[in-house]
């Protein structure tokens, strides 16, 4: 609350400062400002374009070639046949559905758990700082490390969690249990981030509105569904957008937990395997481009259909 207040103040002051300047010696100052703006942004833009736009263009080009790294001399243009090969392959579709399943389930669980955590942090009277500190630990820990921890925990004979299972159960070697554990690892690692975003959203819900609803006789549950949630919608959508895109790229946890075996590979794992195990740059690039398209579709759906305001659009409007 307080920060938005100062922000508005600062903006008002800035606007006030700008008005007379514009009325007076506009051209020189404005031109200088414009040039400085471009100058300051140029390095960042150059780096971002050089390291992403150019390679993705190159990936599209590679995906149209037959390009086996073992026989680089035989590279030739083959049109869309790599895409045909990928899209007609059961491996792609299995990886695609697995990725989608992991994404949907883990983001849903994270949203619910994250909301619960955010409410705990928002409402708790004791040890608020401790809780907030503790949940930063999963955020700070390296994903690979966490994945190893889970892997050892669920490996029979080593792990304390596997010991809880019936004798002979090896959950990481069966498709559904393994998927469940991958989701668990993802949820553990990223729920805190979700919770923090939602907590910041909760802080924007005015206390007076909630109190007014209470006076009008709304119960705790009703207040949450009818007042808090609608007011938090922008924060929730941004958190969901970020986490969905992030979850769709899932790689680290799967690589460590199962290496994509037993039908648990995501599209990222499939791309990696085609590139570094099969050494097929053409097919690998086709998968890269397809993953990129999937992510673009997800982002489009969120922004257009759900109306998620892209972060930063506000300052862009100025």
């Amino acid at each position: 609350m307080r920060r938005t207040g100062t922000e508005e103040g600062a903006r008002a002051a800035a606007a006030g400062a700008k008005a007379p300047a514009e009325a007076g010696r506009l051209s020189e100052g404005a031109r200088q400002e414009r040039r400085l703006g471009w100058l300051l942004c140029a390095p960042a833009v150059l780096v971002m374009v050089a390291v992403t736009a150019y390679p993705i263009g190159y990936a599209v080009y590679l995906s149209l070639q037959r390009y086996d790294l073992r026989f680089p001399d035989q590279a030739e243009f083959v049109g869309l046949s790599n895409y045909g090969a990928v899209l007609s392959s059961p491996f792609w579709w299995e990886a695609f559905w697995v990725t989608l399943f992991i994404t949907v389930v883990s983001v849903t669980v994270e949203l619910v758990l994250g909301m619960a955590l955010a409410l705990v942090m928002h409402r708790t009277i004791v040890g608020r700082g401790t809780v907030r500190t503790a949940i930063l630990v999963p955020y700070g820990i390296v994903t690979v490390v966490a994945a190893f921890s889970w892997q050892y925990a669920w490996t029979p004979d080593t792990g304390y969690l596997a010991a809880l299972l019936p004798e002979g159960d090896a959950p990481l070697t069966e498709q559904w249990p393994a998927l469940g554990l991958i989701i668990l690892a993802e949820v553990w690692k990223t729920t805190p981030f979700m919770a923090l975003l939602l907590l910041a959203g909760l802080a924007l819900v005015p206390e007076e509105t909630l109190r007014a609803a209470m006076v009008d006789g709304a119960g705790a549950w009703q207040r949450f569904w009818r007042v808090t949630l609608p007011l938090m919608k922008p924060a929730i959508l941004v958190a969901l957008l970020f986490r969905t895109l992030d979850a769709f790229r899932v790689f680290d946890s799967i690589f460590i937990l199962t290496a994509g075996a037993h039908g648990t590979g995501s599209v990222s794992i499939l791309g990696y395997d085609n590139l570094f195990t099969a050494l097929n740059l053409g097919i690998g690039s086709a998968i890269s481009v397809l993953v990129f398209v999937c992510v673009a579709v997800i982002a489009f759906v969120f922004v257009r259909l759900f109306g998620a305001a892209a972060p930063g659009s506000e300052q862009g409007g100025r």
């Binding site: 404005a30 414009r34 400085l36 703006g37 471009w38 942004c41 960042a44 833009v45 971002m48 992403t52 390679p55 993705i56 190159y58 990936a59 708790t124 009277i125 004791v126 040890g127 503790a134 930063l136 999963p138 955020y139 700070g140 390296v142 690979v144 490390v145 190893f148 921890s149 050892y152 925990a153 004979d157 792990g159 304390y160 553990w188 805190p192 923090l196 910041a200 959203g201 941004v238 970020f242 790229r249 680290d252 690589f255 990222s268 791309g271 990696y272 590139l275 570094f276 690998g284 993953v291 990129f292 999937c294 992510v295 982002a299 892209a310 972060p311 930063g312 506000e314 300052q315 862009g316």
Partner: protein
């Protein structure tokens, strides 16, 4: 009334203890594994029955780990430094200046924040081999700083919007150019935000795995997360479990200490960029 309040307190304490346990137990498990004697490594105990430093001694004797640790620290520090410098410049312009193309910059960084790294792995792999930076520090620094730039720009521009800009106006009235106002007045005020951003970017680089295993092939540039995935154990008759646990602990503990020390800043940084939108 007092009884109800007490029950309330107890309930919250229980909830909070659960949350803390949830956050910490996988961490404790890997730490506990790292201190287990090889003979008790597979006993599945949550607390080691025989404590030993053997696993740590083992990994620090091999260049496989020490070299990876040097790589991790060096690469993450350099990438963080560059990303924060470039990000600070861009974020200042975004938060402060009027110029056409600002929307484009924001759109571009949003696009990159959403970019799937796997889409870049295959072209970068080929490009870096041609340029001769495959399996080198610059080969990893480049993608790291690129992917952390959007994070840096968002976080920094959110911090910058809270700076008392009247001071800048005052400096300009006193005859400073916009560039001087930036360097002499605003930069010192912005330092805390810059520091927070640096922590977030560092954690991001430190955490990466996909680029680290794809764009390296030897010890020359392999970072710790990649190296431990390929660990073979301190002797060939040993499962690498103990070594992996020890290496994992070594790269986890400093980050956790850092996170605990600067938790307020980190929370502010993580949420500032996203929620304002």
């Amino acid at each position: 009334m007092a009884g109800a309040g007490k029950r309330h307190l107890t309930r919250w304490t229980v909830v909070n203890v659960l949350v803390v346990a949830y956050a910490l137990f996988p961490v404790w498990w890997i730490v506990s594994l790292s201190f287990k004697d090889p003979s008790t490594l597979t006993d599945g105990n949550f607390i080691p029955t025989k404590w030993t430093w053997e696993n740590y001694r083992g990994i620090f004797q091999t260049s496989e780990f020490t070299r990876a640790l040097v790589n991790s620290i060096g690469i993450a520090l350099i990438a963080t430094f560059i990303a924060v410098v470039l990000g600070t410049m861009a974020a200042y312009a975004v938060a402060r200046l009027r110029f056409p193309g600002k929307r484009l910059l924001i759109g571009l960084s949003l696009l990159i924040a959403m970019f799937p790294p796997i889409s870049l792995v295959s072209p970068l792999f080929n490009i870096e081999r041609v340029l001769g930076i495959f399996d080198t520090w610059p080969g990893l620094i480049l993608p790291y700083m690129t992917f952390s730039l959007p994070l840096a720009i968002y976080t920094l521009s959110a911090f910058f919007r809270e700076i008392p800009w009247d001071l800048e106006k005052a400096a300009k009235v006193d005859g400073a150019t916009p560039a001087q106002a930036f360097r002499l007045v605003i930069a010192p005020l912005a330092a805390p935000g810059v520091f927070t951003t640096a922590i977030l970017v560092f954690i991001f680089c430190w955490n990466d795995f996909l680029f680290a295993i794809s764009l390296t092939s030897t010890e020359a540039a392999r970072t710790v997360p990649a190296a431990i995935a390929f660990f073979t154990g301190s002797s060939q008759f040993q499962q690498p479990t103990g070594s992996i646990a020890a290496a994992a602990t070594v790269i986890t503990v400093p980050i956790i200490v850092f996170v605990l020390l600067f938790q307020r800043r980190i929370v502010a940084g993580l949420t500032s960029g996203a929620v304002k939108g």
